[in-house]
Symmetry: D2
């Protein structure tokens, strides 16, 4: 692989990996770990070598829960040194509000007020860490905010408590003078039967109810929308349209299954292509963050093959998207599909209701044309397969 | 069945049926109709006899597309007379923007500007009809607003056009002085591969971007959220929390399947119970609207069994919910689950960040308690099965 | 609750629980255990008190992997004593071929021949234990027999190896003179991306390819077929029709989600009713085995509420099924649905092809009747809700 | 595109299309047709021009139900002439047992014995047509054989009737001396709530219960297994392993949705690649049959773009599969994954149980290796995207 085939990751591509992703030891509900835990400092070095821009982390990924203040400071300093040495940045930081058994009924929406308060406190500490490490974005994934037995929580109360927690934490950031934006990460289910804020849409709406809506966006994840069979491209499109795509989690997933977090591109290459094309066309400037992990049957070497593969496929798809958009056949098919016309306003100031009503009589004539979607979609497949 | 067993529908229960629901002739993608079309006037009479409060309709359900102005007026007058005679009301009206082949690429988001304009014009005419008939709510279901080949529409353009259309129509209602509110009905897919505004959440967010957000709410449908495996109770909860539950479509559906629109209660009785309980506790005052149809292997008699069954099950579940909420064992289990505590604010004005941070050290102690969800959920099952 | 309300479990109901079910400590992919591990002997005593007939186990549930022969014998003797003391039986035994990291690529279908041989060896040891404890049925759940990257295994090779392993083990049972039947437990996915023998159907077919097909049946699980959205009642029906229902795993699950293993009846009460009705009508004589666990937010007391709830709901549904089948309205609706006629042969020996061909001309007349499925299904709902 | 780029379909590729696929007029549950019906003779000519080998048909696709004997003969003769003129063959024929309203409760498993007999009669007539046209395979898709309300049919009775019907029809074929094999086409749901024989596995098992099992195989369809989220490649693998892949239906589908029947390759290119690779490696000799249709927003030209696209993508994937299998990096990764070793028997005649049991002690050592699945899967992605 030569450096100029366009498939070699470089810092300017802004690829990031969670410490917990390359560090995933391969535990699952039916079996224990298959790989050793990695030292976060080693992960930093390996990711730098592979061409990543940065890392992301939960508080507990770096500083094991229960560490003393002195241990914490020592760990953080050593980690900081590794970042400085490699030039890696911190794309985002977040709080682990799911692993401790106290969060078994929720964190910000636990029925136990003591747990809710402890969750906010833990998030504050973790925000301090994120700010100290210079994270761009602070993510909230409410994995335990949900129910198996829905009768145990009035969803209106739960949303009220969720809002309260985010408001309190946004105030905290402002009071501390941190330069941090929040991004909420929706997920429909797992580990809870049903999770509050299950989709990009629910999270976008929720943001509008906050005291500081401008400070909060979303962190959509391929696997999460895909579990519910929703179009990730449409969802990210709505977030971009709203100016709320603050971060993104890239991976792969089959619909209607447990959370798989496969290597980016390992499933549904067409959707992955459309996603990359959308991000690039929208000039998304945030981290391209991989929240994925190697298959459980991999050894440590496989982990780095996995990480390299995530970035390589992103770059290959970005290149395919560029190629697609300049092909004359594609431009022609786009025109036949009237795709550019969708950007044109439907009415103008001069339109009167009576005129529009009259135009409805033209439906039969309007039904005759086709939209060349087969041609366009086949061109996409051709480009994706490299046969055009 | 005596009138006082609590299972007999009466107008004060506000049950409504779409003309297209009892009138569904049993056509599906693999076979033609199995029942005759019904005269809407006959449906009005039958529904009144069964105890419904009202009906709902698409423009074309009542006035076949292509009717002359004179025919339209005659049809409407005859229908109006049936409503007057029976005392039935019109719960909601809506526009058929999906059946005409001109809408094959979308209505408000068709790539063809002419189609978009015709769709707005058709909606205006249909709003006139809805207002004339005294509809409470005007629904928009954008069944054709979507894609199979996502490359053919930039989702940001599509949402922009969708917003434009709703804004124009809201202005129209205000200009005409109609007393109508809008309700958007989300759906994830079918008949399009992926539909814009796929869930309650996406629709609630979209409403916040409109020029007249106060005028617009949602019309969630059991089948639609359920197709994507989302919790309908959580979704309706978010709509109620936002003050946006303007209408509701009741039916039944299995997850991950074609749109089934089964009789209310025919699938997932626990979720149906939780839904009815939520609506009743929230004092939802709108129509209880059944958007469902009889199994295709029914004859005309079966249609009315179907309609009676929808209402009967709603009433049985409402009664079970009342019984559940007053049971001493339930109150005790609710307390053990700390369900009422979720309504308590988590922090108060006097809370300092340092104090909250310190409380995080208490997580181990907070992990010990249980939440009695098994007991509570089994009580629910007991009540549902009538064994308690 | 008095002992004669019909809802009190007794040994003759043949309810069994896996040691791993009541013993489940509440670990999941995002968090550690929330409950202490139980001593299997304590579980035996508690289950006996609750009215269960027996227990089931994986080898490692009782004898931790790596125990010495002496430890093993001591553990088994102590467990045996508890069984003798309580009178509990062993419904089934099975091998844990999924937890050890060596099985990360499969057990009987691992690409590594050494792993495949070790898996067969471990199964032989475990069969010895099962026979020693007097298990009725020996179950094989091939949770690791599958792929994430399907290119890594030719499915034909995998099935060949799977068949070889079961054949070898069946021979072993015969050689040892054990009185054991095998039951294969299908599952579509999790913990592998796709598992071989994903459904009841695939397993039934596979059994027909074995050297000793008569010795092998299936152990269907509610959650497993339901994950894929398949009808569990139809699947169990096919197994019964084939004479192959050797064991059954009862629990609850929502479609298209991670493996939930909820309390029996906690989801989809109608399907649970139909299942219980089918088992009872078919005089299924095997254990009614609960392969489920308490919600993760339960404390130890909740575990026994969970176990009691599984049995209580089964009994309540069995009682409802009896009530349903004797209701005159149901008999009438069954007749209107022509349900009994489906048991009548369609043709008889005297039928000539020409006659049958001619009958096809009668389709229009045959289309007129209805099948009263709405009436029948509403009666089912009425009985289920206890309002009839 | 020159004829020798390997992407030009030729008769030896054995591509076939159903008359109902290119002839699909674009009707769906929410809207009427968007395209004119095609004359089957025109379809034959167009498909021949595009390079297809043959066509397939339902009886009613060619001869409208209700045609007189004379009309039938005239239609068949004209169609036959078109086949002769173009050299196109008939890959398979089948009976339409779903469109007529008489089949609303089932055909071979209708509760009405008269319907069951008429269904058998219609199938006999249609088999006569298939034999007359020289079809290789006769397919049975039991789209109406199922339930919405499962209580209305005992599944054991339904399977018994299903078996009876296939047995009677197999006898008929033998008696008539037709050279026809049967292929059963499984589907999980739609148009029925749940369909009997929902998957490849269920159908394979059912075949084993027939009087003439050797005469009957399966006709799996991408969309059908995929609706239920099952691995199509594993399913086809099981059919090939059993020697039962008599025919195949190629198209594309997203999991957990209505039956989409998209252009082959329009969804999940990786699964499509693996499927084509499996078929080619297994030397599948039957028709490559496309059971798909153009997007509904296409005009007539789009239909032929659709048809060309199906074949082009198949050829591109076959070419990619060949390229993949000869790449040295792939051979190396396959070896690292131990993929070839899965073809080796696990035990040999000399193996004693004790030896195998002892090998289980080696699990810890066996756990250390990795299986290089990330490397292998990324190579697959590279080849698929044409970057290697």
């Amino acid at each position: 692989m030569t450096p100029d085939d366009g498939l070699t990751p470089r810092p300017e591509h802004r690829f990031t990996f969670g410490l917990w992703t390359v560090g995933n030891p391969g535990r699952d509900p039916f079996g224990g770990p298959t790989r050793e835990l990695l030292d976060p400092v080693d992960s930093v070095h390996r990711l730098a070598e592979l061409g990543a821009w940065g890392i992301s982390l939960h508080d507990d990924d770096l500083v094991p829960w229960g560490s003393s203040a002195a241990e914490r400071d020592r760990i953080v300093a050593r980690f900081r040194a590794a970042l400085d040495e490699t030039g890696l940045g911190v794309g985002m930081a977040t709080t682990n509000l799911f692993a401790h058994p106290a969060f078994k009924d929720g964190a910000f929406t636990s029925n136990d007020r003591g747990v809710r308060r402890a969750a906010i406190g833990k998030a504050m500490r973790s925000i301090d860490l994120g700010a100290e490490l210079g994270a761009e974005v602070y993510v909230f994934w409410g994995g335990r905010e949900g129910t198996e037995s829905a009768v145990a929580k009035d969803p209106r109360d739960a949303l009220e408590r969720y809002r309260e927690a985010i408001d309190v934490l946004a105030d905290y950031v402002v009071e501390q003078g941190y330069d941090l934006r929040f991004a909420l990460e929706p997920k429909p289910n797992e580990p809870r039967g049903d999770i509050f804020l299950p989709t990009i849409g629910h999270a976008l709406h929720f943001i509008g109810t906050l005291n500081r809506p401008d400070m909060v966006g979303v962190n959509p994840e391929v696997a999460h929308e895909t579990m519910a069979g929703l179009s990730f491209v449409h969802g990210v499109g709505q977030a971009l349209w709203a100016g709320k795509l603050f971060h993104i989690d890239l991976n792969a997933q089959r619909i209607g299954r447990y959370d798989q977090d496969f290597r980016f591109g390992a499933e549904d290459l067409k959707e992955a292509f459309l996603l990359v094309r959308l991000l690039e066309r929208a000039n998304y400037a945030g981290p391209r963050h991989f929240d994925a992990h190697a298959y459980r049957n991999e050894d440590p070497d496989g982990v780095w093959e996995f990480a390299a593969g995530c970035m390589r496929t992103y770059l290959a798809l970005a290149e395919a998207a560029r190629r697609f958009d300049v092909l004359p056949e594609v431009r022609e098919a786009m025109a036949a599909a009237a795709a550019p016309d969708l950007a044109e306003p439907t009415v103008d100031g001069a339109d009167a209701a009576d005129g529009l009503k009259a135009e409805a009589d033209g439906l039969d004539a309007l039904a005759r044309r086709g939209y060349a979607n087969e041609r366009l979609d086949q061109l996409l497949v051709d480009v994706l397969l490299g046969v055009r």
